[in-house]
Symmetry: C2
Subunit: 304 residues, 2 copies
Amino acid sequence: MARIFGHIKGQPVGTTYNNRRELHDAGVHAPLQAGISGTGKEGADSIVVSGGYVDDEDYGDTIVYTGHGGRDANTGRQVRNQELSDPGNAGLVRSELEGLPVRVIRGRNPDSPYAPTSRLRYDGLFRVESHGAKVGIDGYRIWQFTLAKIPEEGSTTAAPRSSQTTLEGFADTPGPPSVIETVVQRIVRSTKVVQQVKAWYNHECQICRLTLSVAGGLYSEGAHIQALGSPHYGPDVVENVLCLCPNDHVLFDNGAIYLSDELKVIDAPTGEAKSALFIHPSHRIDPRYVAYHRARWTTGTARG
Amino acid sequence: MARIFGHIKGQPVGTTYNNRRELHDAGVHAPLQAGISGTGKEGADSIVVSGGYVDDEDYGDTIVYTGHGGRDANTGRQVRNQELSDPGNAGLVRSELEGLPVRVIRGRNPDSPYAPTSRLRYDGLFRVESHGAKVGIDGYRIWQFTLAKIPEEGSTTAAPRSSQTTLEGFADTPGPPSVIETVVQRIVRSTKVVQQVKAWYNHECQICRLTLSVAGGLYSEGAHIQALGSPHYGPDVVENVLCLCPNDHVLFDNGAIYLSDELKVIDAPTGEAKSALFIHPSHRIDPRYVAYHRARWTTGTARG
């Protein structure tokens, strides 16, 4: 059965379950024992946050979740280092790199005010924001994942701290010194179609052939040739998507490079062809989207 | 006077003004005639959206705004091509590249249900989402900027369409075919401190020395060495920030590269030094943050 990322139909946030078997049967969290459901190839679709893991921290909308492995099954204490190559841990890295939502189920935990007092409760979708290693309380290396709640549609609760856009921007009115005024500089979005295109290239950039390799995975971004949304309304289809490294994605989205009808990569300032776009045999690119993107950056210029 | 990005104290969203002079005096939009307040170096901090520009489109939370230049002052029609090098247009590009918020003031426009019926009204902060050229209704090249409303803190209105995170994720339950299910893959944030560090390097990457040049500007990203937010709580100070290209930002934030105490760039898989970090004479980097970042990716490994 395909792994489902996102809410499960008929299982609204707040639904409770008597045990792991019921969670499994509802499709909310498939494994009967493991805390992480996922693999490095697909990503992790759900986790169970339970009491008894000494290094976990639960702040409600932010959870610091300790990865899988190296624990004594009876005591829950770490007895070995954890490895990022563990399938569950690699799954959380993949979800972080792709922005895939992770279902969070909380179990009973007397130490956490956010945990249910009994049973298991589905608490909604979280984004994996970051991860890193540290020496845990038991003296072994653990990998920890910071997850932030994705606000529910129509929810009136504040956005999670970490995705806060400070509306004062860079206003010079001094705030409390603890406030870090941040703005969102760039948002990279992904879709199921983008995931498919990336899979063809295994994250290799179609322009520069670079593959970014990070701890636990590969990284690339999907670029819609004719942009999504107003006023371009490009479609979310594989014929309109490129697999690019972040640098070439910025250049392509901002008109520093565009494509010729022969799918050569053109340097906008000079109009010179730099190289041919690398294209997987299964990947058809529609010249209409290429022409639309090119016109967006060359209309009314000498090369228009 | 320094250009202020964000809300102006004492001028809440919805405030109305009799004329451009009042807008100027309130500090909401400084120029008395120009529709765009800004420069390519600083960014654009405010725009006035008025009726009479034939190519503008107003969808409420999304505005397609035509840039400056090439218009007949009396008729408002285009009589020449617009140039992205026009200071106002370059300012909007800079605000897009840096994620700077733009104050939007709407004037009277009988064609728009979102415009006030009289006076000028401050309608809050928008993000510049994208830009591009097209041939306008009058037959000349125009540059258009798509702006999306930044939701107000505590607002119960839905997020703008374009920043929507579809909570169904990639769930296989089929939705209406017009729905594009997107997830947020990556968010790049900036702060005033980050802006200062970028200015030292003029957007040149401290690791690979690359400067990304796009239509209308240069692009780089600020990387906090000890990450902001839970559980790292790195400070937002210049001693904790690097100016990087997007590729090296992804690699640095995900542990593929880290720094030695001598500020050499280390390739994590091999532990080999690749090069020395490029450092501007004014830029002091605090070794404590470097050590924190390194420990996050090397704890418990042979190179830890």
